[in-house]
Amino acid sequence: MSWLDKAKVGASGAKRSTRKLQGRAPGANSRAVTYSTSPLLASKTPPWRSKFLVAIVGVAFCGLLGRALYVQVIGTDFFQKQGEIRYARTLELPASRGRILDRNGQILAASVPAPSLWAIPKDFEADSAQRKQLAKLLGMTTKDLADKLDDNQNFAWLRRQADDQVARDVLALNVKGVHQVREYKRKYPEGEAATHVVGFTNVEDQGQEGIELAHQKDLAGRDGTRRVIKDRLGRVVEDIGDSVAPVDGRDVQLSIDSKVQFFAYQRIRDAVAENKAQAGSVVVLDAKSGELLALANYPSYTPGDRRSLSGEQLRNRALTDTFEPGSTVKPFIAAWALETGRVKPDTVIHTAPGRVAMGGFVISDAHPHGDLTVSEVIQKSSNIGSMRMGLMFQPREMWELYTQVGFGQKPQLGFPGAVTGRLRPYKTWKPVEQATMSYGYGLSASLLQIAHAYTVFTNDGEVIPITLTKTDTAADKVPGVRVISPATAKTVRQMLSLVTGPGGTAPKAQTIGYSVGGKSGTAYKQEGKGYATKKYRSWFVGIAPINNPRIIVAVMVDTPTAGKWYGGDVAAPVFSDLVQQTLRTLGVQPDLDVKTQIITKQVPAEDESF
């Protein structure tokens, strides 16, 4: 017999007793409810009470039902949301910023994790010794620390992107209310040597200068998110909803060669110190592909040290500073005169007596020369010789020549801050202006533009665009614009090599083993409306090796004050060292005979045992 049967019996027993009770008091006018089998406990209860009770229970149920309906159907969005707030979390998936690499894959900039220290000032508890130590670790005074903590009661950065060791030491102090969060910062292994090209980012990882700014879109990744459920211990226990995967920033590979870059920086730094100069710049271009191998300026700065990120050392002088290119344009004038058949390399030009008055100005040479051939005009850098050639042209012709080689044109480099330079329209030229312009005054250009213009000589008469990103294949190569014929380019190259030979203005540009050619330039610095006396700018632009050019090197030294100021004395030695080193790094075989120092020492042979 199961418990179910027992229950049935119990129920029938109860019915029976009810009948008995009813039998006892049939005459009562109100029907009583029996609560017990015992007659003693019987009480007369009016039936509306039970009905009332049932009604209350019913109403209560209705209330519950209504509430359920409200929670589940009407207000469901609100409650769902409230629930989610309590257990679901949105996690940020940080994307890493792309790296900047040099042409050989060496890292120029990379993101590395760096701990940032922060504090909740209202939780902050430290005795004076701890405060002192903390301030010392953070590199500030105790007062600064106190000020920092006073600013905001809920949050204060103590130090963002600190060194690992500093963060570890600070946490080891065990000060209450001090926390650490993992952030990323940029690391620049090449430091100040490459910083004018690479640039830097701000503390929020946004590019501020250089390639970091120019390629911000490529380098910056897109942060992802994911929704998760976290348990009481803060562990992630479930993924909910769609997650957005982070997209890492792309790497950018530059045409810069870090070895050449470093050497260029080191050499210009030394040259600036040696000549007690204000500043200096170097540009090294690949003569065939137009790739920028190095671009260095001095003074420079350390990109990792935020305190140094202001002031004039930030200026990328090779791109932003324009000056009158002076003698360095003479080869273009000679080239055009040769190209149009107006002169031959050995045509004689009268430059005596070294002074010519024109339109209220006196045009003069540094040293008076007599009759010079066209080659000698370039070699000895005669202003008057160049002017005589320049005046053979129509203004429009000269303007077109200069424009074609890139003067007065913005360099298509995709680099922030590259300036256009100045070349006025030919219609407004006065005759004397055309005369000065034929030896490089009255127009202005940056060092990069001058170096770029020289690609016309290294590429057999075609001027090619310069690029900062590595061009791998021949397909990437952009066709150049023909300005002069290959034969003319070759003739001018020979003239340029005479400049560095005996009797030229820059014999110090010579190197051991490689033939070089180039043009020196020296000018008074412009100050206000006129020229400053005793303030010079010296530069040298050259190509090497001369017969099959591989590189173009442009060097500029601003305001040398150590007694030497000619481009051939100040800038040419830098050029020489750079060419020597760069060509060796690139594995170019010397094209000049060198007295070899590899000799086998004559020693008596050992007797072979047999």
Partner: protein, 99 residues
């Protein structure tokens, strides 16, 4: 009928307990997986950092300094270099010496 119900009840209870167990296990494993993943990310970024640091230790500046000061090396000039062309023939840079 009754027996079947009892059986079903027992099965239901066991199934429920098993469900609880499995879901707990899955949460635990998921948490572990998540921990492992974040550890992977940490190691990745550390690797990247070490690579950058390694290169910072081997910058041309340092290499040159060490080579010059410690190892007493000098720059190679074309005078002390023998260039070998791809064909295997020795192209003497110091051609002047042989003449």
């Amino acid at each position: 009928m009754t027996r079947l119900n009892v059986l079903l009840l027992v099965v239901l209870i066991f199934s429920s307990i098993y469900l609880v167990r499995v879901s707990h296990e899955s949460r635990r494993l998921f948490a572990d997986l998540d921990k492992a993943r974040s550890e992977e990310r940490l190691l990745d970024s550390d690797y990247e950092k070490l690579k950058a640091e390694k290169q910072a230790q081997a910058t041309p500046l340092r290499v040159e300094k060490t080579a010059r000061d410690k190892l007493l090396m000098r720059n190679a000039t074309p005078a002390v270099t023998q260039y070998v062309s791809r064909s295997g023939a020795v192209a003497a840079s110091g051609a002047g010496a042989s003449q």
